[in-house]
C-alpha cells in the first residue's frame, strides 16, 4: 500500500475517485484472483452461478428500476398511495424483479421536508429498487457528514434547499431499506411516464440530489 497512500485525485472528478476506491494494491489484486481460482478448484463456488448473479446486478436491477417506480407514482396518484402503504406489493405491479428480503420503505419528499438516506456504519442500500450502492455512498466523506452537516453535503452535491425546508436524515442501521420518492418538478404536466422517468436521477432517490428540471 506504500505509494498508493497518495490520495491525490481531483475531488471533482468522480471517475478517478471511483477508480481509486475500487483499485486494490497489486498484491491484494493477486490474492483476490488466487482466492477465486482456488475456491473454484475446491468446488466451493460455481462460476456459472456467479456469472448469473453478476449479470443480474449489472443488467436487471439498478436506478432505472427506481426511476420507473417514481415516474409511475408521479403519474398515477392511486399507485402512489399503494406504493407508500405497501412498497413490495406496488413494485410487483410493475413487473420488475421482486423486492422480497429486506423491508423497503418509501419516504416521500415534500416542500416541508427533504429526506436523505445514509448508512453510517457500512453501506446498507435498497438494492432491490436501486441496484448496488454507488461508490460515494460507501465513502467516509458522505457517511461522516450526511448526519451532522446535511445542508453542507447537499451543497457539495450542488443542491441548495430553501431554509424553510427541514431535512430528515435516515440512518439505515438495521434491516429496513429506505428509498426516497422525490417531488415531481414543476412544469412537467405534459410529459409521458417514460419522459418523467428520465428526470429521476439516482441521487434524487437517495435524497442527495433532486430530479432534473427538464427532460434530457
Amino acid at each position: 500500500m506504500s505509494a498508493e497512500h497518495e490520495h491525490g485525485h481531483d475531488h471533482h472528478d468522480g471517475h478517478s475517485h471511483a477508480e481509486w476506491h475500487t483499485t486494490p494494491p497489486p498484491e491484494i489484486e493477486l490474492r483476490i484472483k488466487a482466492m477465486e481460482s482456488l475456491l473454484v478448484e475446491m468446488g466451493v463456488i460455481d462460476p456459472a452461478m456467479l456469472d448469473g448473479i453478476v449479470d443480474f446486478y449489472e443488467r436487471q436491477v439498478g436506478p432505472r428500476n427506481g426511476a420507473r417506480i417514481v415516474a409511475r407514482a408521479w403519474a398515477d396518484p392511486e399507485f402512489k398511495a399503494r406504493l407508500l402503504a405497501d412498497p413490495q406489493g406496488a413494485v410487483a405491479e410493475l413487473g420488475m424483479p421482486g423486492i422480497s428480503g429486506d423491508h423497503v420503505v418509501m419516504v416521500e419528499n415534500t416542500p416541508a421536508t427533504h429526506n436523505m438516506i445514509v448508512c453510517t456504519l457500512c453501506s446498507c442500500y435498497p438494492w432491490q429498487t436501486l441496484g448496488l450502492p454507488p461508490v460515494w455512498f460507501k465513502s467516509a466523506a458522505y457517511r461522516s457528514r450526511a448526519v451532522s452537516h446535511p445542508r453542507d453535503v447537499l451543497r457539495e452535491f450542488g443542491v441548495e434547499l430553501p431554509p424553510e425546508t427541514a431535512i430528515k436524515v435516515w440512518d439505515s442501521t438495521a434491516d429496513t431499506r429506505y428509498m426516497i420518492l422525490p417531488m415531481r418538478p414543476a412544469g412537467t404536466d405534459h410529459l409521458t411516464e417514460d419522459q418523467l422517468a428520465g428526470l429521476v436521477t439516482r441521487d434524487s432517490m437517495i435524497g442527495a440530489g433532486l430530479p432534473s428540471a427538464s427532460a434530457p
Partner: protein
C-alpha cells in the same frame, strides 16, 4: 469502544464526491470481490454479521484507505480462516500450484441451532427513549453519535436477531427493532437547523425509557 467504521459525525474526510450513474462496477477487482462474496454467502461460508464484524476489525490504517474491494476481501478471508476453509499460506501455496488438502466440503455450523424466544416489545410508537451508553467491545449496530440521546419512537419494525450476538456467535436472540427519531439540534447543538431531524433503526437492547425531567 468503537472502530473507525462508526463514522457518523466525524470530520476530516474532505468534501463529498459523486460518481456517474450506470456503472455497477468500476474495476475488475470490484466485480470479482462481489462475485466471491455472493458465492460465499449463498454457500453459507460467509454471513452478514460475521463479515461486517471482520471488516470493522481491520486495522484502522487499512480501513481508512477506503479501497472497498480490498476491505471486503480481507474481511472475507478472515471469515474463511475462521471457518477452517482457508489457512494462512494457502493462497501463496496455490499461486505455486499446491492445493490445500483436508478442508471441509460443507461449511461447519457457525453456532448452535435454534433460537431464544423473541423478546416482547417494551416500547410503543410515541414513547420517548434514551439510547443507552452501554460498553460494547464487539460488533453492534448502534451509531456512536446517538449514544445518550433522547428521541421518540416513530415505527415498530418487527423482530431481528441481535447482530451483536450473531457476530459473537452467541446464538439467535430475536429482538424488537424500532425507528427512533431525534432532533438534530439535540444531537449536534446549535449549528444544526432547528427543524432538522435524524432517524435510525435501533434494537431494543440499545434503549431505555427516557425519564421525564
Amino acid at each position: 469502544m468503537s472502530s473507525l467504521h462508526n463514522l457518523g459525525g466525524m470530520q476530516g474526510f474532505g468534501p463529498v464526491w459523486t460518481t456517474e450513474e450506470g456503472t455497477a462496477f468500476h474495476t475488475d477487482a470490484e466485480r470479482r470481490v462481489f462475485r466471491l462474496m455472493m458465492g460465499l454467502m449463498a454457500g453459507g461460508w460467509c454471513d452478514t454479521d460475521g463479515f461486517r464484524a471482520a471488516v470493522e476489525q481491520l486495522p484502522a490504517q487499512t480501513y481508512v484507505r477506503e479501497c472497498f474491494p480490498m476491505n471486503y476481501f480481507l474481511g472475507m478471508e478472515q471469515q474463511l480462516q475462521e471457518r477452517g476453509l482457508i489457512e494462512p499460506g494457502d493462497l501463496e501455496a496455490w499461486m505455486h500450484g499446491t492445493k490445500p488438502a483436508g478442508r471441509p466440503t460443507v461449511p461447519p455450523p457457525i453456532m448452535a441451532d435454534g433460537s431464544e424466544p423473541p423478546e416482547p416489545a417494551r416500547f410503543r410508537v410515541g414513547d420517548r427513549v434514551k439510547v443507552r451508553a452501554f460498553d460494547t467491545q464487539g460488533h453492534n449496530r448502534l451509531p456512536n453519535y446517538l449514544r445518550g440521546q433522547v428521541g421518540a419512537i416513530t415505527a415498530e419494525r418487527g423482530l431481528s436477531d441481535l447482530p451483536d450476538a450473531l457476530a459473537a456467535r452467541a446464538g439467535r436472540k430475536p429482538r424488537p427493532v424500532y425507528t427512533v427519531e431525534f432532533m438534530a439540534r439535540d444531537v449536534w447543538g446549535s449549528h444544526a437547523s432547528a427543524g432538522d431531524r435524524l432517524s435510525a433503526e435501533i434494537f431494543q437492547d440499545y434503549i431505555e425509557m427516557a425519564v421525564m425531567e
